[in-house]
């Protein structure tokens, strides 16, 4: 279970009595986290800035009713995810992701792999092409349907534990796992498609 740190407890108390200086502190502590999350979830700066404002406003408004059953950061992440999801749902619908089997390599009737899989995992960390590579990944993340994107961002980008992400998204562990796996498969496939069509800065597999 999440225990609320003494620092957070003091901050919460001050926000509850509407101490103005606490607002500055809340923002210093959380703005980068919320902004990063909002950027990843919405995929564009303007939406992310709107999400950010809504989130802090909601936190300030609702702090009186915050029962401190989860940590302050889990609560704030939950608000941020919900605000971003509401925004994403207003956009034109993106269809569901294909099933796991269709996102992985093709398999023969005998259960053997039926295609050549390019290994693009050798990209040197400092390579100039790495930037380009990361841009492809960012674009692919933007193409993920919202329900998958939220899971992926909380787990793989923000690095939250499965338990924490479940609490924030109100999902069961199996549902979370399945969405995360499918999101990763989708991203891997998108990257593989890029690597196969125009290899960027990769070492030869036999080097």
């Amino acid at each position: 279970m999440n225990r609320i740190s003494t620092g957070d407890q003091a901050l919460i108390r001050r926000l509850k009595v509407r101490d103005e200086t606490a607002v500055g502190e809340l923002m210093t502590q959380y703005h980068a986290k919320v902004m990063g999350l909002a950027l990843r979830l919405t995929g564009n700066r303007q939406d992310a800035e709107e999400v950010l404002q809504d989130v802090f406003w909601t936190v300030v408004q609702k702090i009186g009713g915050f029962r401190e059953e989860s940590s302050l950061s889990t609560w704030i992440y939950r608000i941020a995810t919900n605000v971003a999801l509401m925004k994403l749902r207003k956009r034109p619908k993106i269809e569901e992701l294909p099933l796991d089997e269709e996102l992985g390599p093709k398999i023969t009737g005998e259960g053997m792999i039926a295609e050549t899989v390019t290994d693009w995992s050798n990209l040197p960390d400092g390579a100039a092409s790495r930037k380009e590579w990361m841009q492809h990944l960012e674009e692919a993340v933007r193409r993920l349907p919202p329900e998958y994107r939220t899971v992926f961002v909380l787990r793989d980008v923000e690095g939250l534990s499965a338990e924490e992400a479940c609490k924030i998204l109100n999902l069961s562990i199996p549902a979370l796992k399945s969405r995360l796996h499918r999101a990763r498969l989708f991203l891997r496939k998108e990257m593989a498609d890029v690597a196969e069509t125009r290899p960027i800065g990769m070492r030869s597999p036999h080097a």
Partner: protein
């Protein structure tokens, strides 16, 4: 014996280190003589590794200031006391 078909379903737990040791070892054995699955698993893990670097959380300083003053102003105007509410309803323009 694991077949290529089984890898996809085990991959999430394999990458998270959640597989039972015996299954984990069996998967490793399969990867050691299946270059296709090995490339699949390596690129799946690389996707996870690269995703960590997507994290950027900078907020333009002017936005930070704007937001902070907006919140402080909102905070100052709430909660309204009974007196505030009566004054806003009946007292406008009288004094």
């Amino acid at each position: 014996m694991l077949k290529c078909r089984d890898i996809n379903g085990l991959l999430h737990d394999y990458a998270e280190g959640l597989l039972e040791l015996s299954v984990h070892k069996e998967l490793d054995r399969h990867l050691s003589d299946c270059p296709g699955c090995l490339a699949f698993v390596k690129t799946y893990k690389e996707t996870i590794r690269l995703s960590k670097d997507l994290r950027t959380g900078e907020m333009p300083p002017e936005l930070q200031e704007k937001l902070e003053s907006f919140l402080k102003a909102k905070l100052a105007e709430k909660p309204k006391t009974l007196w505030d509410r009566l004054r806003s309803r009946f007292g406008r323009g009288c004094c």
